[in-house]
């Protein structure tokens, strides 16, 4: 069967998604009899639109010159055109505006209002208007999936299905690779915060403005999504008590070393409270991971703690999570053989 896709956002994640679809499309056709057709690719200043399917290789080969392709339509917006698109699934990968969730929030609402299923790697809309999105999807009989919003391809949301016979009580996690890299460097090398941040920026792990990462807002958004999705809470980012890592010094790290502790930037959902702050943890704890990795510890009622760990960022990592969600919807819609 054919699934028509509308992709919004052609940045690192959007482009990686196109690459992955291009790599996997034959396999999916043979294995599942599923033909993935991308009919529109939106950017902030226009869109590539082709009703019978865009040649992905052509778009990928054009690299940043994709606007020169003949089916590029200048100055059209996704919000405007969604009602006219004949797509089954909208893939939302635009950058997050941490305060408003826009423009992703409007794209998702518009897609759901026009009975499109939604797959998103954009977390802003979900930590700001989680309930609104979920309720709208339910009302319109649409699927909305967002595994890529938390820890990328690590199945932190999907795990819920595998624990349906258990009960998840609380969550402790490291959800931001940048702040974890900085603390790991400070712990391993005794360097100060500024130097570790500079190193992270040079290696491409931190943005030129790293505020969202180091002050805990990025992790806060993710713990909101995790708590709402797998604990069934109804929280927004405004409910999270947030403390960053910029006040941590090498001396502080050194002082607790002799007691077997390390300092980690934890995101915690426990006792109906959401917190992102530096915490002392046992150096032997599974949460003591180094570098840019993410880790999630789920405390369950009948099986103790369960740990998920992996790369929480990266284009292909997020793209593979998007593709998983897409296939999951296709399966639920009985598009797969």
């Amino acid at each position: 069967m054919r699934v028509k896709i509308c992709l919004i956002g052609k940045g690192t994640v959007g482009t990686s998604f196109l690459k992955l679809v291009n790599i996997k499309k034959e396999e999916f056709e043979q294995k599942f009899n599923l033909e993935i057709i991308v009919t529109s690719i939106f950017e902030h200043d226009g869109a590539l639109i082709k009703e019978n399917g865009i040649n992905l290789k052509e778009v990928l080969d054009a690299e940043t010159n994709f606007r020169n392709l003949p089916y590029w339509k200048k100055n059209v917006s996704a919000k405007e055109l969604i009602p006219t698109l004949n797509a089954n699934i909208c893939i939302e990968t635009t950058p997050t505006n941490s305060k408003t969730g826009e423009p992703g929030l409007s794209h998702i609402i518009e897609a759901l209002n026009h009975n499109m299923d939604v797959v998103s790697s954009n977390k802003g809309p979900f930590y700001i208007e989680y309930e609104k999105i979920i309720n709208l999807a339910e009302k319109n009989g649409c699927f909305v999936k967002y595994e890529a919003t938390v820890a990328s391809c690590v199945p932190s949301l999907g795990i819920k299905e595998n624990l349906i016979g258990n009960e998840i009580l609380s969550i402790k996690a490291i959800l931001n690779g940048t702040s974890n890299f900085i603390l790991s460097r400070m712990t391993a090398e005794g360097v100060n915060f500024s130097l570790a941040l500079k190193e992270a920026q040079e290696l491409g792990y931190a943005e030129s403005d790293p505020t969202l990462d180091i002050e805990g807002f990025d992790a806060a958004g993710k713990i909101v999504i995790l708590a709402n999705d797998i604990l069934g809470w109804s929280k927004s980012i405004h409910d999270v008590k947030i403390e960053g890592i910029s006040k941590i010094t090498p001396h502080a790290i050194d002082l607790v070393k002799s007691d077997g502790f390390v300092i980690k930037h934890l995101a915690i959902a426990e006792d109906n409270e959401l917190v992102v702050e530096p915490r002392l943890i046992d150096k032997h704890s599974p949460l003591n991971i180094a570098g840019t990795l993410n880790v999630i510890e789920l405390e369950t009622k009948y099986a103790g703690s369960i740990i998920l760990m992996g790369r929480g960022a990266g284009g292909l990592e997020a793209a593979s999570a998007l593709l998983n969600d897409l296939l999951s919807i296709a399966k639920q819609r009985k598009f797969l053989r």
């Binding site: 006040k247 941590i248 010094t249 001396h251 502080a252 050194d254 002082l255 607790v256 007691d259 077997g260 502790f261 300092i263 702050e277 530096p278 915490r279 002392l280 943890i281 046992d282 032997h284």
Partner: protein, 171 residues
């Protein structure tokens, strides 16, 4: 190692031969099995058959209490030391926290006294400075009463830290 530890005070009553080295044979198994020795009392005036009654008091972490006591008893028996009686004391909880900021300029004694007024005791304080004007980092080992929850303790600390603009890191 857990962030929060319940510690229990234990007193063993034993009888030791009045010979050199016998005290070491009593102490060794206790410290080897995680006991933190607080005191030893010899009752020389109650010596019978060359055996002196001795009370040794030590602290054990609640989580290893059972296994440690089993090992201690076994090793003492091997050294021909019989335990006459075991007394368990009051359980104490202990946590470690970090304070960053002008911990000393904001009157650390006042901080300690205010905590003590709520039966929260600082059992250890370690500090690191760079310069006098710079912030200091202070590690506190804190004992708090059995009837106080960790959350209540942390709230007490948070209130003081908020007032004194100190950055608190807990477990």
């Amino acid at each position: 190692m857990n962030y929060e530890k319940n510690r229990i005070m234990i007193t063993l009553e034993v009888k030791l031969p009045d010979t050199p080295g016998s005290l070491v044979e009593l102490i060794k198994p206790i410290s080897k099995n995680g006991g933190n020795i607080y005191g030893i009392l010899h009752y020389h005036d109650k010596k019978i058959n060359d055996l002196i009654p001795v009370n040794i008091t030590f602290e054990l972490s609640e989580d290893i209490k059972e296994i440690s006591l089993q090992n201690i008893s076994k090793e003492l028996r091997k050294n021909n030391i019989q335990i006459e009686n075991i007394t368990y004391g009051i359980e104490k909880k202990e946590i470690i926290v970090l304070l960053t900021g002008h911990v000393f300029d904001t009157d650390v004694l006042d901080t300690i006294k205010r905590l003590a007024s709520k039966e929260i005791n600082i059992s250890e304080l370690n500090a690191k400075f760079t310069e006098l004007k710079e912030v200091s980092n202070v590690k506190l080992k804190i004992e708090f009463p059995e009837n106080m929850t960790k959350k209540e303790l942390i709230n007490e600390l948070r209130n003081i830290c908020k007032e004194k603009q100190l950055f608190l890191i807990t477990g």
